[in-house]
Amino acid sequence: MRKEPARILLAEDDPADVELALSVMQSAGSAQCVEVVNDGESALDYLHRRRKWRGRGASQPALVLLDLKMPGIGGIEVLRSIKSDVRTRCIPVVVFTSSGERRDIALCYENGANAYVVKPVAFPSFAETLQSISQFWAGVNVPPMRSVRVTR
């Protein structure tokens, strides 16, 4: 089966969280459009088509779903890198984290996060939240178009 280009890039290091997220996507019928990376470096490699992803198609995901606490390059650094690079700064990034700390929230928005969502602890709300994020960002929302570049 030909793999559809990923609509959502999930950057999440915790395998249990990945499994829970995929299980939610699966029951919503959208698991096949999720690409999972387990650390910040891989997230950036994916977006810049480096290493393992050198040969992937040209399209960028409609959404980067970004965990904050990751080994090596953390979520904030990934966010900063995406939003400060002309090649990637238009890609919507939703921070998806356990932390509801004011400081983290402020830091993420200051660095250009498009949304900030606290992972609910209870599974039903976790599932519901994840579904509405993917429905909105990979469905309702019109993603930036690759072919059109606005010069400033």
Partner: protein, 397 residues
């Protein structure tokens, strides 16, 4: 350091003393004072500058014998240089000012030890002749003690500041620890709850009835733990957040708190008695949290009453603070545990009957204390409870 040998005067001597003629008796009195004084005393002839008399005290102080001192010119005694000077300037000064007080003098005794001394000298006339009496007092110990006190005072503030900052940083570390522990506990908990749910949804039919029950017990326990962690996080947030004080109408806050509690009041008959409430200077969101906790407490512990009565009002208050109370006709508590009720995770009632984590009132206490107020509770088993708190009236605009 120097201690004059004080001979004890016996009562027999005093008795004998009475029998002497007046002049002789006065002379006798003077002699005794002179010989036994702890001060070092010199008597000089003003004109010749020579020492006429020296008591045991001065011998002890200088380490010189009486024979050595008497007859010597005052300025020639090396160890008394700081008092008399080399050129006899002392005698000009005392002529101008017959009572001289000198401090910060240093006497070097024969052993080379420097002794801090104060001196009181006075010039007097007697039978056509001018005399000077000098009393010298060893103040070395005194000065040392003074210096110590001075140094202690100097360092005290420094030490208080250092300790305070140590405490503050320990406190901050503790808060950070609480936060990160609670925070890190959330993820595994989400996994437990998530996979329990998935099993319940997708594998329930493959499980026996007892196994389904175990699964539901795991889920219930995880939910309870999630509540505890949320409360702990809120608790740690109270300690860490900056307070932003502003004037707030307490009645508005109470109404907002009741809005937050709709879920808990919807199937209940509660008669609310809300009296006039003052405008207070508080951190709005913290105070609102305290009120939510207090009201939710009152709502919870009146849940077994067919008709709950909850009253909010102010006590006749002092000039510098407002005292507020929240009274309910609920199950109350044993007054022996009135203080314990504000501890973290303390629960006075049984968990089956009343849900809760036991952090709510600890939060209330923390919030009120951060505002400089006090909290206390009065109650009786099965006869309701009243929670009081005070808020200082601050001058903040």
């Amino acid at each position: 350091m120097t201690k004059a040998t004080v001979s004890k005067i016996t009562s027999a001597e005093i008795l004998r003393d009475v029998s002497l003629p007046n002049q002789e008796r006065e002379e006798n009195h003077y002699r005794r004072i002179f010989e036994t004084s702890q001060d070092a005393i010199l008597v000089l002839d003003f004109k010749s500058h020579r020492i006429l008399d020296a008591n045991p005290g001065i011998c002890l102080l200088t380490g010189l014998s009486k024979a050595h001192l008497i007859g010597a010119k005052a300025e020639s005694v090396l160890s008394l240089r700081t008092l008399f000077g080399a050129e006899g300037a002392f005698f000009d000064e005392i002529k101008a000012d017959p009572i001289l007080y000198r401090e910060n003098l240093v006497v070097e005794n024969r052993d080379g030890v420097h002794i801090q001394v104060e001196a009181t000298c006075n010039l007097f006339h007697s039978q056509g002749q001018q005399f000077i009496q000098c009393n010298l007092r060893d103040v070395t110990q005194h000065r040392l003690a003074e210096e110590q006190v001075r140094r202690l005072n100097e360092t005290l503030e420094q030490r208080v500041a250092a300790r305070t900052s140590e405490l503050e940083s320990a406190n901050r570390e503790l808060e950070a620890f609480t936060y990160s522990v609670s925070h890190d506990l959330r993820a595994p908990l989400r996994h437990i709850m998530g996979f329990v749910e998935i099993l319940e949804n997708e594998a329930a039919e493959n499980l026996s009835e007892p196994h389904r029950r175990h699964l539901s017990t795991i889920g219930g326990a995880a939910r309870r733990m999630a509540d505890l962690i949320e409360d702990l996080l809120a608790f740690s947030r109270i300690g860490r957040s900056e307070m932003q004080k502003a004037k707030v109408d307490l009645l508005t806050l109470v109404m907002e708190a009741l809005d937050d509690l709709q879920e808990e009041t919807k199937d209940r008959i509660i008669s609310w008695k809300i009296h006039d409430l003052p405008v207070v200077t508080v951190d709005r969101s913290l105070m609102r949290q305290a009120l939510v906790n207090l009201l939710s407490n009152a709502i919870k512990f009146t849940s077994t009453r067919t008709r709950a009565v909850i009253e909010i009002g102010t006590e006749a208050c002092a000039a510098n603070e407002d005292t507020l109370y929240i009274r309910d006709n609920g199950v109350g508590f044993n007054p022996r545990y009135a203080q314990k009720i504000f501890g973290v995770f303390e629960r006075l009632n049984n968990a089956e009957e009343f849900e809760g984590t036991g952090i709510g009132l600890a939060n209330v206490q923390r919030i009120i204390r951060r505002h400089g107020g006090r909290v206390w509770a009065l109650g009786k088993v099965d006869a309701g409870a009243t929670f009081y708190f005070t808020l200082p009236r601050s001058s903040v605009k």
